[in-house]
């Protein structure tokens, strides 16, 4: 076993598409290694003889590198310099190395080479598929005792510990033709489409253009008259020169969504050393592409053979071994055994031998091999084992020998074991078109009996699959399919048909031929001792699938879920087809009869940061602010409240005050001095047209036919279900012209609601709507005697309340600037709302405060915030839609019968007379006062009928919707929705309190100021 004891793997003397002039050092598990620019972590580790890089999920078995790309099942590690910029579960076959890269093994303890978790493997007989469903069922909650241990054992990598310092972007593109995959087929397609004048996007998920051609020995293939690498570079240069073409490498098409929307994920800086990263570049970028036509040239994926002991590091896909050799200049082993069921793997043997490796054997399950193939191998002196199979392997953390036996005609074992030492088993069970994106596009697959794989059938979207993705494995076929599809796609996208130039490949490569599938290679061992892995990451063996089937799980989806096959981070890219074939074999069905599991987005895992794009942190959602906001923000200690998208000042704290004290002061000031509120955020809608009145009649619950110009009226809006939706004051500007206001949070909804009715239900009404919310800034000035202040402000209108009456409005000027003044009030106090063009809002605001005594003026002016506004309106018993209502209150429930007109339809009217909405035992809005005047009920407190709560469930009569300490009444006040509340005036009820005796409350009217003057409270 000499070969296996020394470090296997080797960098070749020459060849490969790496930059041997640029050595790069990196660390894996603390040890420093060397690689070259252009290496992936996988190729660099293999060049250093490091095959084992991970442990499997369940049994913690050693895992090596199997594939060379995104399809690798289990070679995943943690990357990153520290605990913050760390990337768990990173595939070594995709991570490019850079100077200083740090990688470490994950899901193992204490180390990769010695992992305690291997105990699971020792007892694996007791942990078959679904074992956890059969145990840990003690008394209730007993799972809670086991779960922490299970959770700790599960999981793979470790999440970052702090906020990601990187930026991510997302961007939108429209393309005539999007080509996914830049191998020969994709490149030919992109070229043909671009030549036709189409806008083309060509993407490849690796760092280079060329696809499978990059896995061929340099100079071995020519396209046209040039070596392939030169021809490709020329085509790429031409594409780059075309302003309508975008070529993206390191970019994965991860999701094919509806209407030809494809998501691309570009890794912009992940391959660069931190010192090489340009600070303003995003780490990654999502391209949201809307393509008229899509061409899928996503290639084919190689299937591994399923045999006993097939999971040891050093057992790799033959195609991957060839890629590592020819693209990266790495020999994956010095002593190789090739195990195949088709011709393609033989090319790996020949290339390996040419690079200096020894080929210990080619084992092929086919009994009748083509003469040419046999001849070529014999000429090279390679031992051939036709009609044979590898039935077992040896080696602990690396494969050391392959056990070979001859198969008889029926596929059974017919010889004694022949153990051959090796440090590499390159195996191939044939190739399957990579149909993930095609299936995501919702096209129909069909099972190709020649390929023994699914390939694209009928397309559903504007899509074409070409090349190996379409089952065409021959190079010339790929070029031709790509070229034709590119031209056809451009034509379908509206460009003039052109006959694209033919590109001739120099020769036919060794492709899959005479494929013979054996879903599981037989083993001489007792069935229970066989460990043939189908899913290498989640440790699913053929035995697990057998158990699932034996237990009656026959749907492929059930088996997947029961065994977790295909549910790892690779999503079973190379495992699934083997699983389907094995299930079919076991159930005695055909593969298409068994079906396939869904190919879900994303094709491979995409960082959540990239998906979130730029819409994070300060850009997550806009904060809308008013014209006066700079003034608010400059106050010494102001607390804001988000209201819808808006930020409104909640209270302006003065030195030494807490929030409560500030609110009390502001509330008091608005009734005793002058309070000023920024009311700019209220929604405003201009309503105009000869039918405007009729429109308002239908939209609001009350009548609008007689409101005279110059007057305002309060209105309540319902939804068709009869529940209160919004409220506000609307002013009549002219007979056919109204100015409507809405709640701050409801503005957009209301406009949508109104436009909906106008355009769809009543298109005959001549009414136009335009939102004017932000055109005006609004200062609401409130308090006894505030008319004097308003008089000082206005140039030309006398605000004397005797002549400028409640619910009137006037046009006026302030220093020549037009304003509109409304005498409306949400506090019950004398109040004027001054509307001014928003660009003068801050000026007006400052002008008002220049009159304050604190600024050397003469008025006692207090700015107040939304919290004081809430208290003030509650003192007067005004509702806030959304606080005192919750979508279940009718106007009657709110005691607002007066606002519902006696006749005439309006939106929601019919719902009010349904049997349950007209019941008298509904919850109705009332005022509540506590027995202890200084006790403020918590909003949300439940109201009950008796002093003793008794046992649960307790009958609840209602709940407190608003509750404050009113400085103007010197006591607490509350509003509540209470069952039959309107008939309970004077009744004592109880407010339930956690851990304390219920507090007695008395039912009163909601207008507390009136209740006080009536002597009720």
């Amino acid at each position: 076993m000499a070969a296996s004891r020394q470090k296997t793997g080797l960098r070749t003397q020459q060849g490969g598409r790496i930059n041997r002039d640029k050595p790069v050092s990196f660390t894996f598990d603390g040890k420093t290694y060397q690689g070259f620019e252009g290496d992936t972590l996988a190729s660099a580790l293999l060049a250093n003889g490091q095959h084992m890089v991970a442990r499997s999920f369940k049994y913690h078995r050693p895992r090596g590198i199997v594939a060379a790309g995104a399809e690798d099942p289990a070679a995943i590690v943690q990357i990153g310099p520290d605990a913050v910029e760390t990337d768990p579960n990173t595939r070594v076959t995709e991570q490019e190395i850079f100077e200083g890269l740090r990688a470490s093994a994950q899901n193992c303890w204490p180390s990769l080479s010695f992992d305690i978790g291997i105990a699971n493997d020792v007892f694996s007989d007791f942990f078959p598929a679904g074992f956890y469903y059969k145990t840990f069922m003690g008394p209730p909650l007993s799972w809670m005792r086991f779960e922490p241990f299970i959770r700790k054992a599960a999981g793979l990598g470790v999440a970052p510990t702090d906020r990601d310092p990187e930026q991510y972007d997302s961007t939108n593109r429209h393309a005539d033709v999007l080509v996914v995959g830049a191998g020969p087929a994709g490149l030919a397609a992109a070229k043909a489409a671009a030549d036709a004048g189409a806008r083309v996007i060509l993407v490849d998920e690796t760092n280079a253009i060329g696809g499978a051609l990059l896995s061929e020995p340099e100079g071995s293939v020519s396209l046209g008259s040039k070596p392939a690498d030169v021809a490709i570079q020329k085509m790429v240069d031409e594409l780059h020169a075309n302003p309508d073409v975008t070529v993206l490498t390191r970019t994965t098409a991860f999701g094919y969504y509806g209407d030809n929307f494809v998501g691309l994920w570009e890794r912009v800086t992940d391959h660069l050393a931190p010192t090489d990263r340009v600070t303003h570049m995003p780490r990654q970028r999502v391209w949201r592409v809307r393509a008229k036509q899509v061409i899928l040239a996503t290639g084919a994926l190689e299937r591994p053979m399923v045999f006993d002991g097939n999971d040891r590091p050093g057992i790799m896909l033959a195609g991957a071994v060839r890629t590592f050799l020819n693209r990266y200049g790495v020999l994956c082993g010095r002593m190789a055994v090739i195990f195949a069921n088709n011709d393609s793997a033989w090319a790996t043997a020949f290339d390996l031998q040419d690079a200096g490796a020894q080929i210990a054997a080619i084992v092929d399950i086919r009994r009748n091999l083509s003469g040419a193939l046999l001849q070529k191998a014999a000429h090279r002196g390679i031992p051939i084992h036709a009609g044979s199979a590898i039935v077992g392997t040896k080696g602990r953390s690396h494969v050391a020998a392959a056990g070979i036996r001859v198969l008889d005609a029926s596929g059974m074992i017919s010889s004694k074991a022949n153990w051959i030492e090796c440090d590499l088993i390159a195996n191939s069970c044939g190739w399957a078109p990579n149909v993930a994106l095609f299936s995501q596009s919702r096209g129909k697959l069909f099972y190709d009996d020649d390929l023994k794989a699914f390939r694209p059938g009928a397309s559903w979207q504007q899509e074409r699959s070409v090349g190996a993705a379409n089952g065409a494995y021959d190079l010339q076929d790929c070029l031709d399919e790509g070229r034709n599809a590119g031209a056809a796609a451009a034509a379908d996208a509206g460009f003039k048909k052109r006959i694209p130039r033919v590109l001739k490949a120099s020769h036919t490569m060794l492709v899959q031929r005479d494929l013979q599938i054996m879903p599981q290679i037989p083993s001489p061992k007792a069935a229970k001792k066989v460990r043939a892995f189908i899913d290498l990451q989640d440790d699913v063996t053929t035995k697990d699938i057998k158990i699932a089937i034996q237990e009656g799980l026959h749907s492929v989806e059930h088996i997947k879920r029961y065994t977790t096959t295909g549910m790892g981070t690779d999503q079973g890219k190379i495992a699934n087809l083997n699983a389907f074939a094995f299930i079919a074999d076991h159930l005695g069905k055909s593969v298409p009869d068994v079906g396939v599991t869904t190919f879900r987005q994303p094709y491979k895992p995409v960082t959540m940061g990239a998906l979130a794009g730029q819409h994070v942190g300060a850009h997550f959602m806009p904060r809308r602010t008013t014209a006066m906001h700079p003034w608010h923000k400059a106050q010494r200690d102001v607390v804001f409240e988000p209201v819808g998208d808006w930020l409104r000042p909640r209270a302006f704290l003065r030195e030494g005050e807490d929030f409560h004290q500030a609110v009390q002061r502001e509330t008091k000031a608005a009734r005793t001095g002058i309070g000023v509120l920024d009311a700019s955020t209220l929604g405003k809608i201009d309503v105009r047209g000869p039918d405007a009145r009729e429109f308002l009649n239908r939209i609001y619950t009350n009548a609008w036919s007689k409101l005279a110009p110059g007057k305002c009226r309060y209105g309540l809006m319902l939804k068709e279900d009869g529940m209160v939706m919004d409220d506000g004051v609307t002013a009549c500007l002219a007979d056919d012209h109204f100015h409507m206001t809405t709640t701050t949070g409801g503005a957009a909804n209301v406009l949508g609601h109104l436009e909906d009715y106008l355009q769809t239900e009543w298109p005959d009404l001549k009414v136009y709507l335009t939102t004017t919310t932000e055109q005006t800034a609004v200062a609401s000035i409130c308090g006894p005697g505030c008319d004097r202040l308003v008089a000082d402000l206005l140039d030309d209108v006398d605000p004397d309340p005797e002549t400028f009456k409640f619910m009137d409005w006037r046009d006026a000027h302030i220093q020549g600037i037009p304003v509109r003044v409304f005498r409306i009030s949400f506090t019950g106090e004398l109040s004027y709302e001054i509307n001014i063009d928003a660009s003068y809002g801050l000026w007006l605001w400052k002008k008002i405060f220049a009159l304050a005594d604190s600024e050397g003026g003469t008025y006692d002016i207090t700015p107040y915030g939304t919290e004081a506004m809430h208290v003030l309106r509650a003192e007067k018993g005004f509702i806030i839609v959304g606080q005192d209502t919750d979508g279940t209150a009718t106007p009657f429930d709110l005691g607002m019968n007066w606002i519902v007109k006696k006749s005439g339809d309006f939106v929601g009217r019919r719902s009010l007379s349904r049997s349950d909405t007209s019941r008298d035992d509904r919850k109705q809005l009332v005022g509540l006062v506590t027995e202890q005047p200084d006790f403020v009920l918590m909003e949300g407190t439940q109201i009950i009928g008796s002093k003793d709560e008794g046992a649960v469930p307790v009958v609840m009569l209602g709940h407190v919707t608003s509750s404050y300490f009113s400085p103007n009444l010197g006591r607490s006040i509350a509003m509540a929705m209470v069952e039959r509340g309107q008939g309970r005036a004077g009744e004592t009820l109880y407010a339930s309190r956690k851990g304390e005796a219920p507090m007695a409350v008395r039912v009163v009217g909601t207008d507390f100021l009136k209740e006080r003057s009536d002597g009720t409270i």
Partner: protein, 220 residues
């Protein structure tokens, strides 16, 4: 009261007019990329029946038509007055700063007798102008609109969503043809958000990234 910000000084003399982006100075980047506000342009929204719109050319508009082709605009020879199609019965009239009130009065007079609506939205909207060869690419980071030259031509105006903000994207007619200018018309309260989001996208082209004003205390 903190009064370090000059805009917060008590007013003296003439009324002081501030746009919602008054706190943002013009920004520039590579290859002549610039972003600045076109402050206080007059803006009126006109609603009028589609069927009469094509026949009406109010004198007040100086010969500029109400475009009836979707997403089109018409601009006066002097470039000082434009009418943008916003919807089949909706236009925005953009005029020089300070002219909107006179224009509104004249239009009201001339349209008398029609069923129409004319609303002053001068302060409702803010105009952000971006100029430079990379403008389309910057906008692609923000909008799903097709920004290709074949799809978005000079003079066109399209309502869309930029980031999370509704806005009209209008490509101005430029005489030189060399550099393109896109004018974004966005609600005042969203202007700072959009400005910063654009600057974030434009950082790739050498513009300084600015972040939205924040720091408001929201939690007691």
């Amino acid at each position: 009261m903190a009064q370090s910000d000059p805009t917060l000084k008590p007013p003296q003399g003439r009324p002081e007019r501030l746009s919602a982006l008054a706190h943002r100075a013009p920004l520039s980047g590579d290859e002549g990329l610039t972003m600045q506000e076109a402050a206080h342009l007059g803006k009126l929204v006109l609603r009028l029946d589609e069927s009469v719109a094509g026949t009406i050319v109010p004198d007040a508009l100086n010969g500029v038509h109400l475009p009836t082709l979707p997403c089109c605009s018409d601009t006066s020879a002097t470039g000082t007055l434009s009418v943008l199609w916003l919807g089949p019965d909706e236009w925005m009239i953009v005029s020089e700063a300070g002219t909107e009130q006179t224009l509104q009065t004249e239009l009201e007079l001339q349209l008398k007798g029609q069923h129409f609506q004319l609303s002053n939205v001068t302060d409702y909207y803010v105009c952000i102008d971006i100029t430079g060869p990379q403008t389309r690419e910057i906008l692609m980071n923000l909008t799903t609109l097709d920004m290709h030259r074949r799809s978005f031509e000079a003079g066109q105006v399209k309502g869309s969503i930029l980031g999370h903000a509704n806005a009209f994207v209008w490509q101005l007619h430029t005489d030189t043809g060399a550099t393109e200018t896109f004018r974004l018309i966005v609600r005042s309260s969203m202007a700072d958000y959009l400005w910063c989001l654009i600057s974030r996208s434009a950082r790739l082209f050498g513009m300084a990234e600015e972040t939205p004003l924040s720091g408001e205390r929201l939690v007691i």
